[in-house]
Subunit: 270 residues, 2 copies
């Protein structure tokens, strides 16, 4: 049966997922758009409900996904165009959205034997920066993100949009400052921090295969307790009047230096 009332209780609760508090309380999040919903599904996100409007959803891959979801016993909520548009964040929505369960991990759930490349972000505040870091991390074949301290919600709409689906390819770990410090001291994974006050240039360092790249926050830069946890600190060369780069830019510049050194670039898609 199609839901055609915008004040339907299910619809109201889906709409509420745009609020951080509601996401926290429910452990759920909302995604919309053909590309991102398909990506979430393919990457094994825990999709609870698909929301569909057949007036808007004409895309074959989208329709195939609805069928697959039906087969797998995932709830499919058919809604009227009005209802869909009342939920949708974007104008001209594509008729496909989903509610999924969040998957945030703890530090002790990280497999340190097959660690690979991670970015740790201290107190990141800007959702666009967080999403962009995810997108770049995915592009260089990184494994995950550690979010330290108070952080913008990785399931924030803007963060997810900026991540372009990379959220579903990476392991996202949340930790308090204390938890992170304790874990780092107990593990032998090397950590390299980025700071414009460091003396060593990012291009002069040999990056190990297993590595945490630690970025300070947008406002405070690298905090002292985190700097002390680093095995090395690097800086990015600058000549202009700027005294710093955007966080996601600094992260990407170092990530691509690491990526280049790993020769992974030679095995890329082409």
């Amino acid at each position: 049966m199609m839901i055609s009332s915008t004040s339907n209780i299910r619809i109201k609760s889906i709409r509420k997922l745009k609020e951080k508090k509601e996401r926290q309380d429910s452990g759920l999040f909302y995604i919309e758009g053909l590309r991102i919903v398909i990506e979430a599904f393919d990457k094994g996100a825990k999709i609870k409900t698909l929301i569909v409007n057949y007036d808007l959803l004409k895309n074959e891959r989208g329709l195939a996904l609805v069928e697959k979801a039906n087969e797998q016993g995932i709830e499919v909520l058919e809604v009227s165009r009005d209802v869909f548009e009342s939920i949708a964040l974007k104008q001209n929505p594509q008729g496909l959205a989903a509610v999924a369960a969040q998957q945030l991990f703890k530090l002790d759930e990280i497999d340190t034997r097959d660690f690979g490349l991670w970015t740790a972000l201290d107190s990141i505040a800007d959702p666009g920066n967080l999403g962009t870091v995810m997108r770049t991390m995915d592009a260089v074949g990184g494994n995950g993100l550690i979010l330290i301290g108070p952080t913008v919600d990785p399931y924030d709409t803007l963060a997810m949009r900026a991540s372009m689906g990379a959220l579903f390819s990476l392991k996202i770990v949340k930790a308090s400052a204390e938890e992170f410090a304790r874990w780092k001291r107990a593990t032998s994974i090397p950590m390299i921090g980025s700071s414009d006050k460091a003396s060593e240039l990012y291009t002069e360092v040999e990056y190990p295969r297993d590595l945490i790249l630690l970025m300070g926050s947008e406002r405070q830069g690298m905090q002292e307790y985190l700097e002390k946890l680093c095995n090395q600190i690097v800086r990015i060369s600058m000549v202009g009047s700027s005294d710093s780069l955007n966080l996601s830019i600094a992260n990407a510049v170092i990530l691509y230096e690491i990526f280049k050194q790993s020769h992974a670039g030679e095995q890329d898609k082409k």
Copy 2:
């Protein structure tokens, strides 16, 4: 005399500068915050009016700037705290703002004999991306930006905020698609484009000292007519499921490869 009415006609017209249309019609723009106003002043931006509230402005450098402006015959508008807060974009404003004249250049105003490094952006839509490209360009010692086709306003509040003052260090040129194509054909400045469809990796290219790095738009990527104008196209290696990077990230990754090759990194601030 202090302006204490939020509906004062001058105050109203300043507040209106947050709208693109008003900026276009007046050729002016609005900036606020200690750091950015001081930077604009120091970099020779054409400041028409300083807006000051002395309850909020306690910073010595800020007060020194007001004095200097007075000496140079720049209008200083003293306003009440209420009025300042009615203009301010940010919460907890620092009591210093300014109105300045826009400085957009045409292609034939570029000195091609001392060209250096430029980024050209086709139809850029996101103000955060534009501001971030400016910030990175400044950090690598770039000379300017060419904005091709319909573009987000470089004097947009979000763009300026993301640029962190870099707007005042770079020459900003606007051109239509036709103007740009004509200019590029007439000049011998090499242009390298970025596209995920290119076969050559960005790390395998030798970048000349005078160079335009051309980025396609967020939505369309590299348009065919622009690709044809390029002397070379490069791509950035990727291994993840993402098929592209954020525009400002892709720009920065290539800019830092160019920067590294130029050895300018060895002469940086430290």
